[in-house]
């Protein structure tokens, strides 16, 4: 499978997710933790349950696999500078890695000692001059780029923040923590502006005395009116992973939930979500039992996905090209797949 030929040039065919098909597969020998496509969609990147990040050329086959080695723990979040020249990696070794995206022999350009505890999330702003991160020290930190200097700390989360983003207006941040707390922050002052308890994306397991919740992926809609969060709901047994996946569409202006997309028949978690230019969502899921993952295509407001693609193993991450014609999915079995959302050529 690793010698699958390079994907054909993108056709002009209309988007038809019901004809989604795999156009490239890349194999690693360790479970993957996340994936991203660079802004030009030249490369597919994945974190793994070793300490490395891996890069494949989208049209280069498995032989194009290149190792980004430098972290001393897992990486579960990746982001790029807007021009795609720099890759930023959030390490569970407390550090943010800075890399040359296209380097032939990648080495970290910089390793920023960013948090006391895991760095769970990194995100670059639209002009590439700022980066925001969150970590297990319960802090959100704003960094300047390219010098990597700390500009601001945001304090207020009492449990681990799982994800943080720039609002498209670049004046505010959004963050989401283990307990389901959504917070809005003013970048200039560092102050918390608003907070909402999305308790339906958290559960306290009475039997095991533990909290389960948090965002596994988070994005803003292009217009900044909706925060979209992938995670879980209906926790009944945290330690066995018995819960349902949830995609929350959160009205950012009213600061309240707008749609809660979930499938009660599916036990598990959603690990990734993207908005499609045509207005629907693509999300990836991992089941509680069994091995089959899922890609759901969902129209906001509808009760059920309008199409589901079954994955050979559970999905650990999802990304989409800017034109919405291709998506990348990282799997537990080490497979990174590129799907084309049109009919086969």
């Amino acid at each position: 499978m690793s010698n699958r030929p390079a994907p054909p040039p993108l056709p002009d065919d209309p988007i038809d997710v019901k004809q989604s098909h795999v156009v490239a597969e890349f194999q690693h020998d360790v479970a993957l933790t996340t994936c991203r496509l660079d802004p030009q969609a030249r490369f597919a990147f994945a974190g793994a349950e070793d300490f490395n990040v891996y890069r494949w050329s989208v049209d280069g086959g498995n032989e194009s696999k290149t190792v980004f080695s430098g972290h001393e723990s897992w990486v579960r979040c990746l982001d790029f500078s807007p021009d795609g020249e720099r890759l930023y990696t959030a390490g569970y070794d407390d550090r943010i890695g800075v890399w040359d995206t296209a380097a032939a022999k990648p080495k970290p350009l910089e390793m920023i000692e960013a948090h006391k505890g895991w760095v769970r999330w990194v995100k670059v702003n639209r002009d590439g001059t700022r980066l925001v991160s969150c970590g297990n020290d319960n802090l959100i930190k704003l960094w300047s780029l390219p010098d990597g200097k700390l500009i601001q700390e945001f304090r207020g989360h009492e449990r681990h923040p799982y994800a943080v983003l720039f609002h498209p207006d670049e004046q505010r941040l959004a963050s989401f923590d283990l307990m389901g707390n959504i917070k809005e922050w003013d970048i200039a002052s560092g102050k918390e502006l608003r907070s909402f308890e999305a308790k339906f994306m958290w559960g306290f397991d009475q039997k095991f005395r533990a909290d389960m919740g948090g965002a596994r992926d988070m994005i803003f809609s292009e217009d900044g009116k909706t925060l979209i969060v992938a995670g879980l709901t209906n926790v009944t047994n945290a330690f066995a992973g018995v819960h349902n996946p949830m995609i929350l569409l959160f009205n950012w202006e009213k600061f309240e939930p707008q749609h809660k997309l979930t499938d009660a028949s599916y036990k598990g978690m959603s690990w990734g979500v993207r908005t499609h230019p045509e207005g629907f969502l693509a999300a990836v899921g991992a089941p509680q039992g069994g091995s089959k993952g899922a890609i759901w295509f969902w129209k906001p407001g509808e009760e059920k996905p309008f199409h589901t693609v079954t994955l050979s193993h559970c999905g650990r991450g999802l990304d989409m090209t800017a034109d919405g014609r291709r998506i990348a999915v990282a799997q537990f079995d080490g497979l990174l797949k590129i799907y084309q959302l049109t009919r086969k050529s």
Binding site: E49, D50, E72, F239, G241
Partner: protein, 420 residues
């Protein structure tokens, strides 16, 4: 070894009779100052046992046998400890500074992935048969003649009801304390006057005397009497159970339930308890093993170390055997939910205090932690070791009339390199 990927309902069932197995116990809070009771204990040379049970099966990778950078190593790093060359997981930074007071066993093979079987093996030192728990055996042979507290106390809000004393006398059975409060129904009912209660006790004593005259009936009356005696001891120590920890204690131990339980454990030990077991729940991490170990060990590490420090500060470390253990470990393989499942083939634990040589690492697992590679032991060897450390010959027979029952499994022996 075949993986067990799930738990059975009985393993997680709340105890319905746990409290009835005993009735409860009590303690006073004294911090680092020796009370008269403590002074008496130290002078008498009494030894005692503290069991810290991490229920559910903590991960050996995320505690005492880290394998960072290997196939199954997970995301955490290892850190140096106060013992040169001894590395433990970064989730235990407080323990790392105190490992010169403790020792590690990394080579336990329990040959079971079942909660119940693993727990019973770790407690009884035998994997089949009706034998008493280590706590009941320690209570029988270590408790003073007239203890001020029930001799085997278990602070937990969960747990199965067990026949912990097996063939030993009923007063050595485990008594469960439901967290840091007095057990329900401990106090004399308001409608029952002191005089009426005294008359009731006298009447019970008369009946016992007549009943125990019958052949073979003494064991029944003894069991019955034992329940009343334990309840009376507890009633006299009710204040100890209900005492609110000081602000300083809450700051040091943490204000969470496990912190409060460990403050109570300390107070019980300092006030004459012989065996105290305190359970920290929440290690059965079939999903999100790493996030949950972060949370659970974050609570455990500092709290346990404060308890260790206080035991040492009051001069009781040399006379108190300390166990940190689970019913098994967790799989090397990380499942699709970022969990680790049940695993008994390569398990770790920590020991310290009375009779234990500190700073020792016993055994090893292979590079990926999938099997024991050196000095394999099981719960039978551990059982011998506990009692050798406490000065009780585990090869001797129990004092049970008419029967020859060795304290430890005769096929096993102590881990000599751990003993002082």
């Amino acid at each position: 070894m075949r993986r067990d990927t799930g738990c059975h309902r009985i393993d997680h069932a709340l105890s319905r009779r746990g409290f009835l197995a005993g009735t409860a116990a009590g303690a006073a809070a004294m911090g680092g100052v020796l009370t008269p009771a403590q002074a008496d204990q130290l002078q008498s040379g009494q030894k005692r046992l503290l069991q810290v049970f991490l229920q559910g099966g903590f991960s050996q990778f995320e505690t005492f046998d880290p394998k960072p950078g290997t196939k199954y190593g997970g995301p955490f790093r290892q850190i140096e400890t106060s013992v040169p060359g001894m590395m433990i997981c970064e989730l235990l930074p407080h323990m790392a500074t105190r490992m010169h007071k403790l020792s590690i066993i990394r080579s336990i093979n329990l040959r079971t992935n079942d909660h119940g079987k693993g727990r019973l093996f770790m407690e009884k030192g035998r994997n089949v048969g009706e034998f008493p728990y280590v706590g009941s055996v320690a209570a029988k042979y270590l408790a003073p003649p007239n203890p001020t507290l029930p001799t085997y106390l278990h602070i937990t809000t969960r747990g199965l009801s067990d026949n912990t004393n097996a063939f030993l006398e009923a007063q050595h059975a485990q008594m469960k304390l439901p967290g840091t409060k007095a057990p329900d129904n401990l106090a004399r009912p308001d409608k029952l006057t002191v005089e009426a209660a005294r008359r009731r006790a006298d009447f019970r004593a008369q009946l016992n005397e007549r009943f125990s005259g019958g052949k073979g009936q003494s064991a029944f009356t003894e069991t019955f009497d034992s329940s009343f005696e334990m309840a009376e001891r507890l009633m006299s120590q009710k204040g100890l159970l209900e005492a609110e920890p000081s602000g300083k204690d809450l700051e040091r131990y943490g204000s969470h339930p496990f912190g409060r339980r460990c403050v109570l454990a300390r107070n019980l030990l300092q006030n004459g308890a012989t065996v105290v077991k305190v359970t920290h729940h929440g290690y059965d991490t079939h999903a999100e093993n790493f996030n949950f170990h972060l949370e659970q060990l974050g609570e455990f590490d500092q709290t346990f170390c404060m308890l260790l420090d206080d035991i040492e500060a009051t001069g009781m470390l040399d006379s108190t055997l300390i166990m940190v253990y689970s019913e098994f470990g967790r799989t090397p393989k990380i499942n699709q939910r970022y969990g680790r499942d049940h695993w008994g083939a390569s398990v770790s634990m920590a020991l310290g205090g009375a009779g234990i040589k500190p700073g020792v690492t016993v055994g090893a697992t292979n590079k990926e932690g999938t099997e024991v590679s050196d000095r394999e032991v099981d719960a039978g060897h551990l059982f011998h070791t506990y009692f050798s450390a406490l000065g009780i010959d585990p090869t001797a027979d129990h004092n049970v009339p008419g029967k020859s029952i060795p304290i430890g499994d005769p096929a096993k022996s102590s881990i000599k390199e751990l003993l002082v």
